[in-house]
Amino acid sequence: MSWVECALFLATLVGLAYPLGSYLVRVCERRRTFLDPLLRPLESALYRLLGVHPEQEMSAGTYAACFLSFGFGCAALLFLVLMLQRALPGGPADAYLSTAMTADLAANTAVSFTTTTTWQAYAGESTLRYASQLIGLVAQNFLAAAGGLAVGFAFIRGLARTRSATLGNFWVDLVRSLLFVLLPLALIGSLALIWQGVPLNMSPYVVAHTLEGRTQVIAQGPVAALEFIKNLGTNGGGFFNANGAHPYANPTPLTNFIGMLAICMLPAALTITLGQMTQRLRAGWLLLAVMVVMFVAGLALCDRAERAPPPQLADLHLVGGNMEGKEVRFGIGESTLTTIVTSNTSTGSFNAMQDSYQPLGVLAPLTFLLLGEVVFGGLGTGVYSIVMMAVVAAFLGALMIGRSPEYLGKKVTAGETRWVALYVLASPMVVLTLTAIAVLSSGGRAAVSLNPGARGFTEILFAYASCMANNGLALGGLDANNVFFNTSTIVAMLAGRYGLAALAIIAAGRFAAQGRVAVSAGTLAVDSPTFGALLLGTIVLAGALSFLPALAMGPIAEFLQR
């Protein structure tokens, strides 16, 4: 059953890639779209209100600076909303808000939601006011996603333009991403979720009197406003603690399918946007093909690990896969599919508890986190994640056959290589350093209070990998709401968002300044299956060189121990 669903999912994704990718080209290049009659007046009004001159273009440096200042502004606003939330009107009643909103938790959450990480060190239903969920979190789900898509557009322009000193206007990209992509899709998608049962109300928590004479308090809220945009914007942080496993957040297998499609469709389509705008459509399709191959490989590993009951329960005569931490309506198939989708896409909106997965079931998502979200990836950010690796692959390929390295008609010289190399090295440097510090310090070790041994180490590695990848997926056994983790994960989230984006924008600025090298017989074909294999090999090799020792101490050791 689940293979049918998986095949249909991938077919839908690939089928949507071309039409959506073409539409994104129109959004990016400010061409006419079918939404113009409705949205153009609003767009112009916003430009006037914000003081934006849409014809003005920005250099790479200005673009990056605007992206950064917008991100910090959002974080500051969210921090204030969270710190002052007790003064906000509306539900839920104070009695249910048992987790204190400390300054470190508010700072962590503010950075987390403005970097699309949405790492959550708190449980929504016992921490947040409805008003903070809406004006705080829902708003940042839109804005952080739009910011990411804007940077993705700028990066693509860098490869598409020749002899240009500019990459576009950040504010225009931001507003257009919001108006022409995120808001319309979110409206349709959220309505579909409500139809399937996701609540949207501001009611107090409901007290039910059960058939057996007990009382059950059921948390309510404007859940549907968050649950679709969290996926579409590759944010992932849920309304409730159990995120996508909660039956209010994800009531049916259909809502789960819609959510997964929402996560992947725009990042997958951006490969086609890249292909169209650089007039190398086949190269775009090749990137998508490499993503699909890696996706299927990871899913096969994860799904196989979860299909059998854990060996520790072998003598109990249990029938079925590893259902600890999984929902009956999703079973094993939709749980593992969702794990692989969310671990790949900066999203992290789980529908099953990854910490109760078997070692190899954890290895698959952890590997994708460490590889830096190259499969589909975050909205907008995914396109530079894969292109940076493709540049490295083109560089290696050119060295092997003795040509001068180029990718999509852009020369890869010493100058570009420097930024690309920094980009590739940033993730191992940050993740491994922070993991080492946490493991060596008492503050870090104290958080590993539930699962001992190799799994405890994996929890720490997973946390930093997730934050660096701006993903937010967590092994929930880690006790993350403390000053040590609230502050150290901020470092990883900022580095993963602004550090990597800055490097990508700088590289894009350099590519934009170049001319375009004509394709000749001597050019390394970057749209051939051979290049696909080379790219795949480069990603795996770079990942293995950086992270294999850490993985050996975590999930691999746990797998071998049993």
């Binding site: 606003l77 507003v175 409500i194 058939l211 039956p247 005569h317 249990l318 600890e324 699962n451």
Partner: protein, 255 residues
């Protein structure tokens, strides 16, 4: 907000200074390479920095309102008349009181009821404390338990005893594992059928009637391929109640 503005400005200036250094250091490569146009000196040329900061602050505020207030309001305006039951939480009313939600699992421990899965939400099916155990299979606590926490071995023994099964009878794994939300409203059809004999004895009913009742409540995968077959426990138990007390008014959705 002044704090945010100051922080915003300071950080942006710092960042731009870094960028200026970074791009300055690479300019030499461009010229030595030849062919590429020499970029005009200075990073900020087209648009002025100060105006950008004003735009940044304004856009944070205006666009936050657009996403965080206008969007939910529009959504609510459309959804409230279209899907009133779903929007208010799919609650079930009986004799004017809420008995639960079709989507949220709840505790049943009496021998005359279908039992849900074990739950890690609060002290069990706490609708304000969703979550799983987060216990790894390699953690001995999951199988063997700990003081105040029943392990899977103990849960399996209890399930077999309750339902009159042999000590080595195979049982569906969902019956002894805790869900991710702790609020799983469903059990597998196999799990429901294994409980039929016990409930039939406790209620003095024919087992075949109960099996038919279970079969009527099995939800097939959506469109035939999405998800797994499942039985919603609360709705099944409500139907069970009505089977013996037909005079009870059926629970109905709350609008």
């Amino acid at each position: 907000m002044p704090l945010a503005v100051i922080a915003n400005g300071a950080l942006t200036r710092l960042f731009i200074a870094c960028l200026a250094v970074a791009s300055g250091s690479t300019r030499a490569d461009d010229e030595s390479r030849g062919g590429a146009p020499a970029p005009t000196p200075g990073v900020i040329r087209e648009v002025q920095l100060k105006k950008q900061l004003r735009t940044a602050v304004l856009s944070v505020l205006v666009l936050s309102l657009l996403g965080g207030a206008v969007f939910p309001l529009v959504l609510f305006t459309i959804a409230a008349p279209l899907f009133p039951v779903q929007a208010s939480g799919s609650l079930l009313l009986q004799r004017g009181t809420v008995v639960g939600s079709t989507l949220i699992g709840q505790e049943f421990t009496g021998m005359e009821w279908f039992h849900p899965r074990p739950s890690a939400a609060g002290s069990g099916y706490d609708g304000t404390a969703s979550g799983g155990t987060n216990l790894a299979p390699s953690n001995p606590k999951l199988a063997e338990g700990a003081p105040g926490f029943a392990g899977i071995r103990a849960l399996a023994t209890e399930y077999r005893q309750n339902n009159g099964l042999a000590p080595d009878a195979p049982i569906p794994i969902d019956a002894v594992t805790r869900s991710g939300s702790g609020l799983d409203p469903d059990i597998s059809p196999e799990n429901a059928l294994l409980q039929v004999t016990r409930i039939a004895r406790a209620r003095g009913l024919e087992a075949s009637i109960l099996r038919r009742l279970v079969a009527q409540h099995v939800m097939r995968p959506q469109f035939g391929f999405l998800g797994e077959p499942r039985v919603p426990v609360l709705e099944l138990n409500l139907a069970l109640e009505r089977l013996q007390h037909p005079e009870t008014r059926a629970a109905h959705p709350a609008r």
